[in-house]
Amino acid sequence: MKSMDTETRRVGGAVKSMTLEKRNCGSAAQCGKAMALAFVVLLLFLVTSFAQQIGTLTTQQGAMPARGTYAIRNARIVTLTGPDIENGTVVIRDGKIDAVGVSINVPAGAQTIEGRGLTVYPGMMDAATSLGLVEVGQGANGTVDTSETGELNPNAKAIIAVNQHSAHVAVTRVDGITHAVTLPLGGLISGQAAIINLVGTTPMEMAVVPYAALVINYPRLGGRRGDFGPEQPAQDITAALAADERQLDQIRKLLRDAEAYGRAQDAYAKDSTLPRPDRNIVLESLVPYVRGERPVIMRADREAELRGAIKFAEEMKLKPILLGGDDAWKITGLLKEKNVPVILTGILSLPLREDDAYDTLYENAAKLQQAGVRFCISTGDAGAEVRSLPFYAGMAAAFGLPKDEALKAVTLYPAQIMNVADRLGSIEKGKTANLVVTDGDLLEVRTHVRYLFIDGRRVPLTSRHTELNDAFKNRK
């Protein structure tokens, strides 16, 4: 089912029926009719293939467009790290932003894009998806690679399983999301997340940072309710707390083992007369994380979980990023004090508690921003709905988050939190050319994306959805 090219499929089918018709025609009249039909079909085929050549290179198969030299002129440019440029030029070359400003010389041979009335934004980044790891959730297990079996899987790497040809990839990017974190979901230690560009023919062509963060599900009182799982039987609080503590101990023990493993390997590297420690790929994968060299994403929503996760990270000397953060507004002081960033995924969720104010989660981001807490906004979606990222940020802006902060919350801030702001998240000379050109405010529903660049490649604005639309919209 994955990556079907409707256009091709339709044309292919028509060609096949044409040959059948020819073989079966009995009388001359029938033959003439068949010939006429064949001609029409052939014409259709030519028109379609011609159209594909000029406008719609087939995107679903994941063929990567080439890098080029482009100049977007006379556009409004929202740089984010500098002031907005009302009428300027952006030059893209060799995958990078080559120049940005008011009076920029367009290099010879550059393809120019007239940007009058359009706005250039940095591409959006969703910092918590499972893009490429799941195609169809319900009832299609064969297309789900989010959750490895067992509780402790630090060496399960999302980048290994990312299906770069997933229809979700093109569907997401044509709405202006150019890169994303894709992360595994299962167990206590789920595995390692990757940062990917939403274009590429192989996983490594997509990878911005293949092993970007470790993902830990901080134990949750009463367990985590899957959307379809049966409701957990009620536990008394003492038993539930003890169960959580046991789970935490499992994680603690593995992290300590990894610490010791790293020390033993280092010692042996310096002094080969020491007994040679066996290599262990599971522990080895954890070493950069227990040493604080790479961040650990810890999923936590309720206040107690958030506090617990911060304390645990401190105890184990981890570099934490909190994921979820529905109750983050309750502990802004602590988050600020410990300088712990939060990836908010619940903006459009129903509030946790019945007596929460109706806008508790809408205004969560505004409260973090006012308190000076580092945060970004994510859909937290497995893949299909990641394209709605701008509307999550927009809703936060409707409830108190300044508009420019809302924009940064889906561009610059996720890049900063995931340690790739040197390459992504704003329009600056030298950064990766992940750009979106729109006919309006990037976060507004009614806005259309007009041009899309990822890694300096001009990406066609087609997807499984546009192709199905094209195939059926004119059916009479």
């Binding site: 499972s130 319900q138 959307d227 459009l348 976060l443 806005t447």
Partner: protein, 478 residues
């Protein structure tokens, strides 16, 4: 739900015993102040049926829209709201909801037309309030999608805080839920050895079940018609046919007195139901979800059915893999009365943005897109004479927005139903300090303090269950 209520009762009792509230004080709690007349001044009015009116006043009187114009005057005791810079639009009509249902599916039989959502309504469901805060005033409460022929619907106005009787939408057309495809086949149920699966198990069986039901309904109707004719002729000693609560609603469908709202995804199953309906001589009022409606828009339009769809949900299961966000625009352009629904307590809070997606995907005009959540769903429920547009004489079910409702930056200031205010952001904000205080008091109340030696309290569960029949979410979320 039951447990939550018990807890609430315990809290209430504790308050009473602590002397914080007396039972009489509770009974005498004043209703929110709602004068019989309200003048909304100087708004941008999205009438839906007569375009957008700038700097316009709207007068509400006794629950109806009494006047629309400039420089309207109101009596001295009227409530006057200055809506300068704000937008007034009709209350949103959600054509597919399971809010306030204590239970959604009677899933044991393939045909459950004898059960009624009316019997399981919980007017205290807090998500109703959250929907009001999204400008929604009317819900089509549907039975779930577990059966080819499901239970009966209820159309309500969200009169949160009022007795259940006041919720029922007067004069709304009765309806019934049908469903096709994977949910009916129970495709997600495990196939256990030794366990007989419920019939039907394929789309072939679904067709057969519906055909069988209407064949029986036709016979049943005939029995009654013959009986009634005999009574009319004055024949004596007649034995009336035995009443059949399962077939009665289907007879009403055959007689055009009850609307069919049919959950559907794929083009083939949509065509199947159209063919059966044509054969038995009834109309499908709406195809719900109708994700592949865009493939057979011509046929749906010919049949005269409406389409009530998601704005953009897709790929959550195989039969939803061909869903595209352009569906809404394609169906609307084909002449189908099209609406965008929520099927979710969460999504219902932002149907304004869901409708706007038809402008992003498919370039529907603003005028057409606004209809998707107002007059079109009203037509689909047979309440278009009462709600769905701002016209003199219609019910005063309205919402004031602080920006254009299609802007992601807009939010609702005030929501009216029958001229009374059921949500007001300023009042909501003003009440929060008091509520926080009350919560603290409740937490200190005797039954809520951990007691030494007693049974420890229960661990909190996950997120409170919300009503989402169609399980659009992926199984797990990052």
């Amino acid at each position: 739900m039951g447990k939550r209520k018990i807890v609430a009762h315990i809290l209430l009792l504790s308050l009473i015993s602590a002397g914080l509230l007396s039972p009489t004080a509770l009974a005498q709690q004043p209703r929110p102040e709602n004068p019989s007349e309200t003048l909304i001044r100087n708004a941008t009015v999205l009438t839906i049926t007569h375009g957008t009116l700038l700097n316009t006043d709207v007068l509400l009187r006794k629950g109806k829209i009494a006047a629309i114009g400039r420089d309207l005057t109101a009596p001295a005791n009227a409530r006057v709201i200055d809506a300068t810079g704000k937008y007034l639009m009709p209350g949103i009509v959600d054509c597919h909801s399971h809010s306030m249902l204590d239970t959604v599916n009677e899933g044991t039989l393939a045909v459950t037309s004898m059960v009624r959502t009316r019997d399981v309504l919980d007017p205290t469901d807090v998500d109703l309030y959250r929907e009001l805060a999204g400008g929604v005033t009317t819900l089509n409460l549907l039975h779930g999608s577990a059966n080819p022929i499901g239970g009966l619907n209820t159309v309500v106005k969200i009169k949160y805080g009022r007795p259940i009787e006041e919720f029922l939408f007067p004069g709304a057309m009765p309806g019934i839920k049908f469903a096709l495809g994977e949910n009916v086949k129970r495709s997600s149920n495990p196939n256990l050895p030794g366990v007989t699966r419920r019939y039907p198990y394929t789309r072939m069986g679904v067709e057969e079940v519906i055909r069988d039901s209407f064949t029986r309904a036709r016979d049943y109707k005939k029995s009654w018609d013959e009986y009634n004719a005999a009574v009319k002729r004055g024949e004596k000693n007649l034995l009336p046919p035995r009443r059949d609560l399962q077939l009665e609603p289907l007879v009403e469908v055959l007689e055009g007195k009850r609307y069919v709202h049919a959950h559907s995804y794929r083009a083939d199953e949509i065509m199947m139901l159209i063919n059966i309906a044509n054969e038995f001589g009834f109309k499908v009022k709406t195809f719900q979800h109708v994700l592949e409606g865009y493939k057979v828009a011509k046929e749906i339009a010919q049949h005269g059915a409406g389409g009530s769809t998601f704005a953009d949900s897709w790929a959550y299961k195989i039969e939803a893999y061909d869903a595209i966000p352009y569906n809404t625009a394609i169906m609307a352009r084909a002449g189908i009365v099209t609406s965008v629904n929520s099927d979710s307590d969460e999504r219902a809070r932002r149907l304004n943005l869901e409708a706007a997606k038809a402008m992003r995907y498919g370039d529907l005009s603003e005028e057409e897109a606004l209809k998707l959540i107002t007059i079109n769903p009203a037509i689909q429920l047979g309440i278009q004479e009462r709600v769905g547009s701002i016209e003199v004489g219609k019910d005063a079910d309205l919402a004031i927005w602080n920006g254009h409702p299609f802007s992601v930056y807009a939010r609702v200031s005030t929501t009216f139903i029958d001229g009374d205010i059921f949500f007001d952001r300023e009042k909501d904000l003003a009440a929060r300090a008091e509520l926080t205080k009350e919560r603290a008091q409740l937490e200190q109340a005797e039954p809520n303090r951990p007691s030494a030696g007693g049974r420890p309290p229960q661990a909190p569960r996950g997120r409170r269950p919300s009503h989402d029949d169609d399980d659009v979410e992926q199984g797990e979320r990052p």
